[in-house]
């Protein structure tokens, strides 16, 4: 497999190699799609809710994964090739199925008093796009433009869009969990059926807020779901440096709540488990801890060791302090790509064919291209606007002029 992968060329419709696509076509034909998707189902796990989703919804999920994938790849390529690129980026490529599967099980449209809310991390693109944030405004915010999602105040790490229930990315790792459980507390206090979700990396296991949020959500039976995106590394340290268990989901037993491990690269599996957790929450049965096993193709931030037009940060990472990832580990995860798994599932279910899949991907690439073209034309912030928005009313005084 790896020899074929080294011949990678990515100026194709597919986001992976031609040789691999041919290989996978063969697998699908042999009915072996089940080895990539629906494995738990095949193993006898009851409840494969994704199979009951309408075609439109399934296609939407595929589109979302592709939107995230191409948005992130565009950012990576820009960082590598565009001297004027000044954004900070924490790339989500590789983890798309987690955000997509989770948000597909939530209410994302409607009045703020009725939709479900999510709290995200400093790696926000996937959560934002899956929740329904406008891609153009996202691109503009990442480049600190005045017409960006948050007026240029947020940048990448502090995005927020209440209108779709994206309370926000939290630049500080940890406390978002307590805030999210607090929102769940408010939902229960007002008798609402809304659910609050927090995404956290494997690094959040060590934070006090992880334990505080689960403890209190369990005690009060709050409609709170903690989705741990275990991509094996927090910044540059393997999570075994900070967690005594292989499965972070094991922590749930301390709080007497369900702890579910899920294949984070298979959007259908993520959706299935999330749907169950959401129903439990809405029924008043309390919180769930979901651990999605996943992987990020790029480094903690930026794209060191990557090449324009190719996906993945390989080789020596100058930012790495404690440990860096073996190249073969990255290649192993690349061979089980969330885009491929989703596409193969949809094709094997007869929702789309390969030609339609290619057309969808082309359309999503175009949408991303247009978003960045729009962003490039957007104005920079007015410096004086820095004195606004400290409080809801008024401005603060300028003090830098003496």
């Amino acid at each position: 497999m790896s020899d074929q992968l080294t011949q990678a060329t990515t100026n194709e419709m597919s986001s992976t190699t031609t040789t691999r696509r041919t290989l996978l076509k063969g697998f699908a034909a042999a009915g072996a799609a089940v080895t990539l998707a629906g494995k738990a189902w095949a193993d006898g796990e009851i409840g494969y809710w994704a199979k009951d989703l309408p075609n439109e919804k399934l296609i939407e999920m595929y589109q979302t994964i592709l939107r995230i994938r191409w948005f992130e790849r565009t950012l990576a390529d820009k960082q590598l090739s565009d001297r004027s690129f000044r954004n900070l980026i924490h790339l989500y490529a590789g983890q798309e199925a987690v955000a997509t599967g989770v948000c597909a099980a939530l209410n994302n449209k409607g009045a703020f008093s009725e939709i479900d809310v999510i709290y995200g991390t400093h790696r926000p693109t996937g959560h934002a796009l899956a929740k329904g944030v406008d891609m153009k405004k996202l691109a503009a915010e990442y480049n600190f433009k005045a017409t960006g999602l948050n007026g240029g105040y947020a940048g990448e790490m502090h995005l927020a869009d209440k209108s779709v229930g994206y309370i926000g990315a939290d630049g500080i790792v940890g406390p978002a969990a307590v805030l999210a459980a607090g929102s769940a507390f408010a939902f229960r206090a007002r008798g609402s059926k809304q659910v609050a979700v927090v995404f956290g990396g494997d690094g959040t296991y060590a934070t006090p807020a992880f334990h505080s949020s689960l403890n209190n959500a369990a005690l009060l039976k709050l409609p709170f779901i903690y989705v741990v995106e275990n991509n094996l590394y927090h910044q540059f340290a393997h999570y075994s440096y900070s967690c005594p268990m292989k499965d972070i989901a094991t922590a749930a037993s301390t709080y007497r709540i369900p702890g579910i491990v899920v294949d984070g690269q298979d959007v259908m599996e993520v959706y299935n488990k999330m749907k169950e957790a959401v129903e439990r929450a809405r029924a008043g049965e309390g919180p769930t801890l979901i651990e999605a096993k996943t992987y990020r193709y790029y480094a903690h931030w930026g794209a060191p060791g990557a090449k324009v037009g190719e996906m993945g940060s390989f080789g020596y990472d100058p930012q790495a302090i404690t440990s860096w990832r073996p190249e073969r580990e990255l290649r192993a995860w690349l061979s089980r790509d969330p885009v491929d798994i989703c596409r193969n599932t949809l094709v094997s279910w007869g929702v789309i064919d390969q030609a339609k899949a290619a057309a969808i991907e082309a359309a999503m690439k175009q949408e991303v291209k247009e978003a960045f073209e729009w962003e490039a034309k957007q104005p920079l912030c007015k410096p004086e606007d820095a004195l606004k928005n400290v409080f809801i009313e008024g401005t603060v005084a300028a003090r830098q002029f003496g």
Binding site: F112, S113, V117, G148, L149, N150, G151, G152, Y153, A154, H158, L159, A160, D161, K162, I167, G168, D170, I172, P175, V178, L179, A180, A181, G182, S183, A184, F185, A186, F187, R188, A189, R190, Q194, A196, P208, A209, S212, S213, N215, N216, L219, L220, K388, N389, V390, F391, I392, E393, V396
Partner: protein, 323 residues
């Protein structure tokens, strides 16, 4: 109208707002959600509003503050009473989250929340960690959060009503020493502004400025000084952020003498900020600062009572100032 303690008056304000807003929540820990006062009905928030709205948490101030903030972020007016033993534990949540989310989100986030931060530091025998009056300075430095500190029951009630109704996050500092101060407080709900200092006595010889628990010593000293013939203008800050610079400057323009009085430590006390603002705006003013030394409070009454600034210190300093 009745004689009420600061604690009872504050709870009256909360109870009124909780009756108006069916979603409003209250999180407490050591301090029961109960207030009683001679001659007035007992207030029991837990009994009246139930345990989905009023919750007794564990020793988890991060949860209390974080949950309050998270509730605010989804549109619920939320209040929490952080006891003095944990007054600084939620600092990061208030500093880096409550204080910054409105700004960072370019106006998307709204947090109609109040963090009651109880502060202590008034009794000998408690010692270092149980005397944490210094929180006044720590919280005041945060942009994006309003910081207020009532010094009497009337303001305790009115400022609590305003804080709850204010759509911004508010840190309501509640000096423990004031819990049992009593005065006449109206029964109906009323508001006191969150950005105005109160001039308690007018005079042209000397301006004395303090806040919270410090006002007890200031008013005592002012009475003594007035008997000695000094015309003292005693100002109660009431709000540390935003600070009422205009009132302070107008007073010292008149008196040209400013004495600040803090129960918290000398370095970076609220009085330091007062002096700086007045110095920028009044030519020819003279300044004096009285504060707790830069040391943790000791347990021994002999040491503590000697260290803690009180009315006699003000009288002596003021006499020297004018003499």
């Amino acid at each position: 109208m009745a004689t009420k303690s600061s604690m009872y008056a504050m709870y009256e304000a909360v109870q009124h707002e909780m009756r108006q807003r069916k979603d409003m929540t209250w999180l407490f820990e050591l301090t029961p959600a109960v207030a009683s006062n001679p001659g007035t009905p007992v207030i029991n928030l837990e009994k009246e509003f139930g345990r989905t709205r009023v919750n007794n948490t564990g020793i988890d101030e991060m949860w209390m503050a974080g949950a309050t903030l998270g509730a605010g972020l989804v549109g619920t007016t939320a209040v929490t009473y952080i006891p003095y033993q944990g007054s600084q534990v939620p600092f990061e949540l208030i500093q880096n989250h409550a204080g910054k989310l409105r700004y960072m989100s370019g106006g998307d986030a709204a947090m109609p929340v109040v963090f009651i931060v109880e502060i202590s530091g008034q009794a000998a025998g408690f010692g270092g960690q149980h005397s944490d009056y210094e929180c006044d300075s720590y919280y005041t430095h945060i942009p994006g959060v309003k910081v207020v500190i009532p010094s009497r029951p009337y303001d305790a009630k009115g400022m609590m009503a305003s804080a709850i109704r204010d759509p911004n996050p508010v840190v309501y500092l509640f000096p423990q020493a004031l819990r049992q101060l009593s005065e006449e407080v109206p029964d109906e709900q009323f508001t006191v502004p969150l950005d105005k200092a109160a001039v308690r006595t007018t005079g042209s010889d000397l301006t004395i400025v303090s806040s919270g628990a410090g006002m007890v010593g200031v008013m005592e000293a002012t009475a003594q000084l007035q008997k000695l013939g000094m015309k003292v203008e005693a100002i109660d800050l009431r709000s540390l952020k935003p600070m009422d610079t205009a009132t302070l400057v107008a007073s010292v323009q008149k008196t040209k003498r400013l004495l600040t009085f803090d129960q918290s430590y000398y370095t970076l006390s609220p009085g330091a900020e007062v002096v700086a603002r007045v110095a920028e705006n009044v030519v020819g003013a003279r300044f004096k600062r009285i504060a707790f030394p830069d040391a943790p409070p000791p347990a021994s009454p002999e040491m503590f009572n000697w260290m803690r600034p009180n009315a006699s210190h003000i009288v002596a300093a003021a006499t020297k100032f004018l003499g």
